[in-house]
Amino acid sequence: MSMKATLRQVDSITVIDMSGRITLGEGCTQMRELVREELGKGRKQLLLNLADITYIDSSGIGELVSAFTRVSNEGGQLKLLNLTKKVHDLLQITKLYTVFDVHDDEAKAIGSFEKAAGA
């Protein structure tokens, strides 16, 4: 089972509801393409909803870091929403939890973009 993603637009923010596996191979490639396409369209505020991600490995974590760096370098913001316990624990173990802006409430996550964009 690979990764699936559904995109929603909430104001200027692209919410990406992701499910399945972000692992070396198909899952990572799909995610990389997705972020590349959004940046290509000028959409630089991305909220990744990871609620239905069932598995993420070291390559998947690397892909999240890569996406974060690419979006930041383009002057945008990439935030994470609804981490499962497994993903939460992996980000804690790898000390990346503090690198990402992590939310468990979509409305608040969206609000945090608006505040940042309007500041």
Binding site: M1, T23, L24, G25, D57, S58, S59, I61, G62, E63, V65, S66, F68, T69, K86, L90, I93, T94, K95, L96, V99
Partner: protein, 152 residues
């Protein structure tokens, strides 16, 4: 006295599609061995990362090469051997993924996760054959679920 182990051996072709096969086998074996769900996931991830390293780095994604998996179930631990046909690596030369300057590196977390999730991790070079990674996870006798499964 000889300590008997239950042994399961599997040979996989070097194809990333087989990583999920290795995971499924690992989950069944770690469940049978009596590990709780959290430890099963840790063992699963350690095998996942090891098999990917074997296919990707060891066998260079060459489908004509193989990965050998050997599970040895003892009363107090599970030992897993993952062997590839590559030249191996020196784990001590890997960058620390938790160092400030490496935090945003895209790669370099696989071995770290294996070490974090397992009780023992060793790499052995097998002359003329390849490299074997040995993973050990001990059953925690303080865990009531595991104690029940293994009896008094």
């Amino acid at each position: 006295m000889t300590v008997e182990a239950s042994v399961v051996e599997v040979v996989l072709e070097s194809d990333l599609k087989n990583v999920e096969v290795a995971e499924e086998i690992t989950r069944r074996i770690s469940d049978t061995a009596g590990f709780d769900e959290e430890d099963q996931h840790k063992i699963d991830m350690a095998v996942h990362e090891s098999v990917i390293n074997a296919i990707w780095h060891g066998n260079k994604n060459d489908p004509s090469k193989h990965v050998w998996l050997r599970f040895e179930m003892y009363s107090d631990r599970l030992e897993i051997r993952v062997r590839d046909q590559g030249n191996g690596y020196d784990p001590s030369r890997l960058l620390d993924p938790l160092a400030e300057e490496n935090l945003l590196n895209v790669s370099g977390r696989g071995i770290f996760l294996i070490r974090t999730f397992m009780d023992e991790y060793r790499v052995e070079k097998i002359a003329g054959e390849g490299t074997e990674v040995i993973l050990v996870k001990r059953l925690n006798s303080n865990n009531p679920a595991q104690s029940r499964r293994n009896g008094p």
